[in-house]
Amino acid sequence: MDDWSRRNLLRATAGAAVGAAVAVPMVALSGSANAAEPSEPPEFPGLSGDAGGSGIGPVMFCVHDAQRGEVSILHGTDEVIVTDRRLVTRILQAAGSRLS
């Protein structure tokens, strides 16, 4: 997995509140701090999706299959599918869920 994508994912999910949800939705990352603090919405970056002036645009990910540790990462017009159970575990923890 690319460093940048993994780092961004972990940053984005690290501060999320713990809840009871089990589903793992697609998440838009507009910048790590913004995604982690939904009570303070970021400035509207526009459809260009240039997150906080980072120049990387929005990055979204979707955990289709938590058991397999599979994450689909969408960025620009690309999709990268990685298999990383540690990453999925961290995401699930951040989402307030965990692998059964």
Partner: protein, 460 residues
């Protein structure tokens, strides 16, 4: 309808909902092919203040297969961009729009046209204008001039237009989907009612059209210049498709799309997804490529409609009811093309790959006296040899499903008499008088104006 709202998911996404696709040798420029794909079903011309427009977030494609594998060899891609000139008004136009550059046109939309050929990407045009919707005589006076100004020439003699048009498709929709009543034969239906004339349910509705006119030699395999109808290189396969990015995020502050484009709609043969593919498969069909269509061949071989007609019209279709064999005629017409030897002087066969494509034999010249029933009426330039804007595809396909084309594969089969007289609104050589067309590109007529349209009325 041809493909208006033909599947559950895409019916909720009108800007990506492909309603009709056409491909024909241009009657006034017979060295070119015109391909048209329409979107946004049932546009009420008076639908302001937010009048209709293409989706800035949709990738529109016109695809050409010239090798018979059900995969695109040439793609024309259209991406739109909307500008708001005055963000402080609710108005679509702040005065009469007398030119495409008018400051009164508050929501102009431009587009980029890109050609993808053999993996090579070439931008053919950027910031190409579209006309406004036809609002009314005060807002869009001289509409024809506005629309014609949006016809551009790009690349190597390619004409292109994108904008609102009058829907050229016609169908007695309210009747067809009332348990397949075919007016004026409703007195023969299992639930009969007195005979009454048909109604063109699409009259005065608009659509949004993408039209491109390309020299034939830019579309055929190895730039073949067609001279022989029987030459396999004379046949091209055409379909249109719409795509959205996989990722969509929306909150109170933003809406974002990201990721690769994935197909959400496609269309080649009219009514394929609408009438042939069952409900549970329609959305999936929209996501697949034509080269994956063999899995749907069973629905073509044993079409549901062919079973319904004898049941709904008792005693009218006894030979169709007795026809249990796979419909090799429909498999050819819709999925492989018609091979040599079936129709004198004609073929549009693209090989064994089963794919829903509009197959156009570009060596067949435009007909000097076209008939809306196309090949069924002996007019080889019409559907299912491609599709012209005025072809009566509903009647042609109804007749084919009812058995009229089965003798192509079994000359001993004698169809029911009814299969040859099934009609949709009209049975003459010309389209009904509730629809009109242009004689030149983009061939679909200027859109109905919101001010002038009289709302439909209800009858008993």
């Amino acid at each position: 309808m041809s493909s208006h709202r033909e599947a559950p998911e895409i019916s909720k996404d009108p800007v990506a909902d492909n309603t009709d696709t056409y491909a024909f040798v241009s009657p006034d420029r017979p060295d070119t092919v015109t391909i048209i794909s329409n979107y946004i079903p049932l546009e009420d011309p008076a639908g302001g203040p937010n009048f209709f427009e293409f989706g800035d977030d949709v990738l529109y494609r016109i695809n050409i297969d010239n090798t018979g594998d059900g995969r695109a060899d040439i793609v024309y891609e259209f991406r739109f961009k909307t500008t708001v000139r005055n963000p402080n008004t609710f108005l679509y136009n702040t005065g009469p729009i007398d030119s495409l550059a008018s400051a009164n046109f508050n929501r102009p939309q431009t587009y980029t046209l890109t050609e993808v050929r053999g993996g090579r990407v070439k931008e053919l045009g950027r910031k190409l204008p579209t006309p406004p919707c036809n609002i009314g005589p005060r807002s869009t006076p001289n509409y024809a001039d506005l629309a014609n100004a949006a016809i551009n020439t790009v690349g190597d003699r390619i004409a292109v237009f994108a904008g609102q048009r009058l829907d050229g498709f016609y169908v007695d929709l309210g009747s067809v989907f009332d348990l397949a009543v075919l007016r004026p034969f409703q007195n023969l239906h299992a639930i009969p009612s007195p005979a009454a004339p048909g109604v063109n349910a699409l009259r005065a509705f608009n659509v949004h059209t993408i039209a491109i006119q390309v020299p034939i030699t830019q579309l055929t395999r190895n730039s073949y210049r067609p001279s022989d109808v029987m030459d396999a290189r004379s046949v091209i396969g055409v379909w249109a498709s719409a795509h959205r990015q996989k990722g969509h995020y929306r909150d109170e502050n933003r809406e974002q799309w990201t990721g690769p484009f994935t197909q959400v709609s496609r269309l080649a043969n009219p009514l394929f997804n609408e009438v042939v593919v069952p409900m549970s498969q329609k959305d999936r069909w929209n996501r697949l490529a034509p080269c994956q269509d063999s899995q749907f061949a069973k629905y073509v071989a044993q079409p549901e409609l062919a079973r319904l007609l004898p049941a709904l019209y008792p005693g009218v279709f006894p030979k169709l009811a007795a026809l249990k064999a796979d419909r090799a005629d429909l498999l050819a017409i819709l999925l492989t093309g018609i091979p040599k030897g079936r129709i004198p002087g004609f073929q549009n066969y693209t090989g064994k790959t089963q794919a829903d494509l509009l197959r156009l034999n570009v060596a067949v010249p435009p007909s000097p006296s076209p008939h809306i029933n196309g090949i069924l009426a002996g007019d080889l330039a019409g559907f299912p040899n491609g599709r012209r804007v005025f072809d009566n595809v509903v009647a042609i396909e109804l007749r084919a499903v009812a058995g009229a084309t089965y003798p192509l594969v079994d000359p001993t089969f004698v169809p029911d008499g009814a299969s040859g007289v099934l009609t949709d609104l009209t049975d003459g050589p010309n389209p009904p008088d509730t629809v009109s067309y242009l004689k030149t590109f983009p061939y679909l007529d200027h859109p109905a104006s919101g001010y002038r349209v009289v709302p439909l009325s209800l009858s008993a």
